[in-house]
Symmetry: C2
Subunit: 394 residues, 2 copies
DNA sequence: TCCGTTCTTTTCCGCCGTCAATAAAAGAAG
DNA sequence: CTTCTTTTATTGACGGCGGAAAAGAACGGA
């Protein structure tokens, strides 16, 4: 394996140690007996796994204790020291690069974004590298080293190989992005699909913590879906998974860029909504914000468009629930800004279309700040750091 | 754990041993070095795992060798001795009980079926018990003990708990079927959903061998789907998964018993096809066989119905492929008798609706003899036998 | 001060799988 | 016919991980 100067290896020498660390990472301060219970290990094993992690400074005793049950030896909760390591997450969209500096607990310390006009790999790589350098300089201010870089790109990405197989928005094909970025930054790089990266963030640091089966649905420029089944993110045998955007909702609906008609994305994604509102109102609506505005001010045509969109999203989510029976679906994305306009329709359509006990699946909405995508990328870098780099061993 | 007299424990004392055994079970005769490669273990570990299994007679050296590479010590392939143990699989439908006696390799030795008119649990249990006794008597003829009983029921089944939570066709609710059957038969009993059982059979003994992600789609009285993701069968957090039959294909389509319109099942399941053919032709078509007959003889109305059904199935399969990106979809079920009538439409609709590389997923059809469902139940029993009973430890 | 309780660590032990060396079973070479 | 080469399988030593049980530690209460 290539030696990356300046980065250190995470001292989890056994799978159990990594498991315990991630348990503490996700579930906040935990006593050792809690860890043993959650991880299904003996208390002795916990002690042995925790020691090297504390010695290395990744775990610390949590002084801020309260509400102890007043009997017996007081418990000694342990938490992750987020400040022990930093990570950079980068999301590359078709017209913008968003980068964040996060700590080990995936809390954002610094966020930056720059516009992107040239989509050639070379130019993009240079922009990303420059942004990474800026954040590395910021990291110096914290006196802590950056241990990894995560990059999120939409499209078909092979995380294990570190390659972008095909990215429609960027028009990239078979680009060994991880290797290239490692050359320019000197950091271990993890590349993943953007929706999957967001799903990883939810799984470790968000509303998916502790769940073995859940889905993340993103509504915005497109409609995407990340799936976790049996505790692991689904990648699909051929790189495609969670394409909820192309579930056909209405075969007589508007045409979709995929070649079919009435896909969820062709009804409920931002461009589709804007187009439909424009057609319904005959007004020169330019973007989603104007469409939302119009609907909020009570325009019946616009409201109807949002109602339809909500129904489409609800039906698409129900399809996911019927097929894989998740415990929870987390709805997120920029499109959530319009949530008040279609929340009811989403729930109604979901309830109507969910079959049997699949309807018990709970729907959760989660606001998506603009830097959340980049945070997802950082989460993948954290994941790689903890589980050890698995790529590039050939 | 309850001691089940007459049955013995499988001598796989370590997870690695069980893994190696199932590898040999699924991949036919293998040399020890092959096993090591496939299981990701060292040759030494294989030797140690194989020995007790051979001593117990579950593995035997495969004398029938051929085509050796003529250099070095000849390899010594090992295979599972199917005749070492027998299993009973039972499928309970709304009007029939099908039971098979299989060997350890899930090859059917004897098959029986009896009609079922009383759906009360008591009566059904009595019928199943009688059938099991018959097969146990047959097993005596082979001089080999029956080591387990698998029962497959449609609906919401909790395999771990051994309970039928809800079976619409049988009108059962919260029935501790495994426990009851263990009392009457004295065998370890595994209860599972019928489609999942079929999926297990494909995963271990069929077209799903060696695949970590695939789907089984059944077409017949209903439309079902079993999913394997990350090498494990998906059960759904609330017991529901793979409900492909209620993917909405056409919101203006015929009403479905689930309350929606245009579900795949309301278009392409046997009853829906019969009803549609009857309406299209104004002929008193009684069952699927007559409908197929009519279509094969060229009736345009009937052919159109099948074409629509094929399109619905293809779209439903594409939905699964888009969401979880399986390597393969295995199409099966009684409805496959009409395969020549809609094969083309299934493939065309799948190709049109599959997104990107998800279309690389290969579609495979597989005839489904009447006793295949029961064989699936036997496969679950074999699985439980090998991995050790996990139920009833509370 | 002693005791009971609860959390944590220590010590010992068994088990499993790998490593490296060895044995085994052929055909090929001399 | 012996010896070498090649590939497969087995053996035995070793190390590491995790568990059981006992000891230790930290507290409140009697």
């Amino acid at each position: 394996m290539r030696s990356t100067p300046g980065t250190e290896a995470f001292p989890a020498h056994t799978p159990a140690a990594a498991q315990i660390f991630t348990t503490v990472l996700s579930h906040g301060p935990l006593t050792r007996s809690d860890m043993a219970g959650r991880a299904g290990l003996s208390a002795a094993a916990v002690t042995k796994a925790v020691r090297p992690l504390m010695e290395a400074g990744y775990l610390v005793e949590d002084a801020g204790d309260e509400a102890r049950p007043s009997l017996g030896r007081p418990a000694n909760p342990v938490r992750v020291d987020g400040g022990r390591a930093l990570f950079i997450g980068v999301k590359i969209t078709g017209n913008e690069i968003i980068a964040v500096l996060t700590d080990l607990c995936c809390r954002i310390r610094v966020a930056r974004h720059v516009p992107l006009d040239d989509r050639e790999p070379k130019a993009v790589l240079a922009s990303v590298a420059a942004l990474a350098q800026e954040l590395l300089a910021e990291a110096d201010g914290f006196g802590v080293r950056v241990q990894g870089l995560g990059v999120a790109v939409s499209g078909d990405v092979d995380r294990a190989a570190g390659e972008v197989r095909f990215s429609p928005f960027l028009e990239w094909r078979d680009l060994p992005l991880a290797e290239l970025m490692e050359m320019t930054t000197g950091l271990p790089v993890t590349v993943d699909n953007d929706v999957r990266a967001l799903t990883v963030a939810e799984q470790w640091f968000g509303a998916g913590v502790g769940l073995s089966d859940f889905a993340v649905v993103t509504v915005g420029a497109g409609i995407g879906c990340g799936l976790v089944v049996h505790g692991k993110v689904v990648s699909g045998a051929y790189g495609v998974a969670g394409e909820i955007g192309h579930v056909v909702i209405d075969p007589t609906g508007p045409p979709c860029h995929c070649g079919n008609r009435g896909c969820a994305e062709a009804i409920a994604a931002d461009p589709a909504i804007v187009a439909a509102v424009r057609e319904a109102t005959r007004l020169p609506v330019a973007d989603a914000a104007q469409a939302v505005d119009l609907a909020r001010r009570g325009d019946p045509g616009a409201r109807e468009v949002y109602a339809r969109a909500g129904e489409a999203i609800g039906r698409a989510i129900a399809t996911v629930a019927n097929l894989m029976g998740p415990q929870r679906v987390i709805i997120s994305g920029e499109g959530l800004a319009a949530y008040d306009l279609f929340a009811e329709q989403i729930r109604d359509a979901f309830t109507a279309s969910a079959f049997g006990t699949a309807a018990q699946c709970d729907l959760l909405t989660r606001p998506l700040p603009f830097d959340e995508w980049a945070r997802g990328a950082a989460a993948t870098a954290i994941q790689s750091f903890i589980s050890g780099p698995t790529r590039g061993q050939g």
